[in-house]
């Protein structure tokens, strides 16, 4: 924790990303107390009101308060982002460690992963959601399935280098079992890279959810998410640009914050990468 604070201090961009993300989490958690009304409450009298004192971000085609919808929409984005990051990392680590250590698993698993990776994320998610149904749970599952191969590749790559290290050889010579070596010597050395990867996956997942909801294959319209708020604003955006602008700004700032955090973590974990990407 102390290290993390020191890291934030040394990297201003990362600090900005962290603060923005913390603010968004606060917005999502405290949504009901931020001057919002029911984000699904229809009010035909107040249709497409421009932003003003009563409706801070205006109202949409059905008279719903866009401010409340955008604030509640933060919940969907963050839940999807964090869930996909955690799930795909956990699943990817298990498969990746197995693939890196057991030869026959490697051959089979990596071909399957190559297959999954040859289907672009959004299309894979569209295909899965078309068969299941549009719900937040299915969106999380679909994006996780698309992201797991990336984690597997990363972990497997790391394992293949780590298992050649002298200290692993020493542990083997000392009679340590395979499981013990993986748990004590290999896995701990993958955590840093995994943290960076998980941060980026969180951003990718938020973008994927917004894209899916925007084209109508994501979170159902009954739950406000930035993607489907924009989808509903599509018909009117030329005369009411705010219908698209507010969710768009929130979405972009969120992804920007996560990427800034990720870049900072990456630079801290691997100074060589920092020099190259900088």
């Amino acid at each position: 924790m102390k290290n993390f604070l020191a890291l934030l201090k040394s990297q201003p961009a990362m600090l900005v990303g962290f603060v923005l993300l913390a603010a968004l989490v606060a917005i999502a958690v405290f949504a009901p107390w931020l001057g919002t009304v029911d984000p699904t409450a229809l009010s035909p009298v107040n249709r497409t009101k421009p932003p003003g004192a009563q409706f801070w971000f205006g109202t949409d085609l059905l008279g719903r308060d866009v401010y409340s919808r955008v604030v509640y929409g933060a919940r969907v984005s963050l839940i999807v982002g964090f869930s996909v990051a955690v799930l795909s990392t956990l699943i990817g680590v298990v498969i990746g460690l197995a693939a890196g250590f057991v030869r026959w698993v490697d051959a089979v698993v990596m071909r399957i992963m190559d297959g999954f990776m040859s289907i672009p994320t959004i299309l894979l998610a569209i295909a899965l959601i078309a068969v299941a149904s549009a719900s937040m749970k299915n969106v999380i599952i679909a994006i996780t399935v698309a992201e797991v191969p990336r984690v597997v590749r990363l972990v497997r790559g790391l394992v293949l280098t780590l298992r050649e290290q002298p200290y692993v050889e020493a542990a083997l010579a000392a009679g340590a079992g395979k499981l013990r070596i993986v748990a004590r010597h290999i896995f701990p050395n993958t955590i840093a890279a995994l943290t960076v990867q998980a941060t980026y996956i969180c951003g990718v997942a938020i973008l994927a959810e917004a894209s899916l909801s925007f084209i109508g294959a994501g979170v159902p319209p009954s739950v406000p998410s930035w993607g489907n708020i924009m989808a509903e604003g599509r018909a009117l955006w030329q005369i009411r640009p705010y219908l698209i602008a507010f969710p768009a700004v929130f979405l972009s700032v969120t992804i920007l914050a996560i990427n800034m955090l990720g870049d900072g973590l990456r630079d801290a974990v691997d100074p060589r990468m920092a020099k190259r990407a900088d």
Binding site: L128, I215, N259
Partner: protein, 313 residues
């Protein structure tokens, strides 16, 4: 080189087979009975059974899969559940705008990103460099459909330089057609521009520390020749790699960008198919796009050799 090309081609087969099994299994799992859908509302059970037999739906999984693969290899992707038209015909009708958009995106992105990356490397740590890097981080994070709306609002609605939405087919004039695709290509290319700018700059900076660059400098080669004649050549390989990886982003982005700009391409076809639960269309599109992605990456691998004779297989 030929041996490598053959080996690399063979390696794509298991991947393509996996995609085919996935895509086929998908339709198999899809809710609803295609035979009943095709038969219409007032079909008798006998009608449905007949259609099921004609379509081979009463066969076991492997037999149906074999049959389906055979048809796919002959260009038959089945029928749309919604229009009843062959899926391959519907895809062919929509392929031109999508393909033109993708090629244009690639060209525009490379044309913007390489000069920006080079400028950033040339002016390393000066304000030009910092400005370009901040811009790259920024457009990398802003989703392409947000960039799309921003561009459509600024250059379409306000300045009126480009159409806000819509698409003119080639038959309406090549220039007019390309004109409608400028904003979509810029929007779709935003992530690409960010990636290629960063990789160009990083590669150039790394190359500039090489011994042969120091030698060239010592014999009096000026900075500009150094950068363009000696260093930029080395950027080709990483740039081509990024282009290959980025095709996946490009494909995913097309689906969304076509929705923003109302372009009647493959992306729109997929989006409409989701809303209508027209599985054969989704199946065909996923298959086609994945095939495209695999082929592009194959070409990228082979291009390494062309750009960098040092690469050995």
């Amino acid at each position: 080189m030929l041996a490598y090309t053959c080996r690399r081609l063979l390696m794509t087969l298991p991947v393509m087979l996996f995609v085919a099994i996935f895509v086929f299994g998908l339709l198999d799992l899809a809710p609803g009975d295609p035979a009943a859908l095709l038969a219409g509302e007032d079909a008798t059970p006998q009608d449905i059974a007949r259609i099921r037999a004609t379509l081979g739906l009463d066969q076991p999984f492997l037999s149906r899969f074999g049959h389906w693969i055979w048809n796919v290899l002959h260009g038959d992707l089945g029928q749309s559940l919604y229009t009843g038209m062959p899926v391959s015909d519907m895809i062919l009708q929509r392929i031109a705008p999508t393909f033109t958009l993708m090629v244009m995106t690639l060209l525009i992105s490379v044309a913007l990103a390489i000069p920006m990356g080079t400028l950033a490397a040339w002016r390393h740590n000066r304000w030009q460099d910092r400005g370009i890097m901040v811009f790259a981080v920024f457009i990398f994070s802003v989703p392409s459909f947000v960039v799309g709306y921003l561009l459509a609002w600024a250059f379409g609605l306000q300045l009126r330089w480009f159409p806000v939405q819509g698409y003119v087919p080639f038959s309406g004039g090549l220039l007019a057609s390309l004109h409608t695709l400028v904003l979509p290509a810029l929007a779709l290319g935003s992530v690409y521009v960010a990636l290629i700018t960063r990789i160009t700059r990083a590669t150039l900076l790394e190359t500039l520390t090489q011994d042969y660059i120091r030698t060239a400098r010592a014999k009096g080669v000026d900075n500009r020749t150094l950068l363009f004649r000696h260093a930029l050549k080395n950027a080709a390989v990483p740039i081509v790699t990024v282009v290959g990886i980025g095709v996946a982003l490009l494909i995913s982005g097309t689906v969304v960008t076509e929705t923003v700009f109302s372009i009647p391409g493959l992306g729109r076809l997929v989006v409409d198919a989701i809303l209508r639960r027209d599985y054969p269309i989704i199946q065909g599109a996923v298959l086609l796009f994945s095939f495209l992605y695999v082929i592009v990456n194959l070409v990228v691998d082979l291009l390494y050799r062309a750009f960098d004779p040092r690469v050995k297989y």
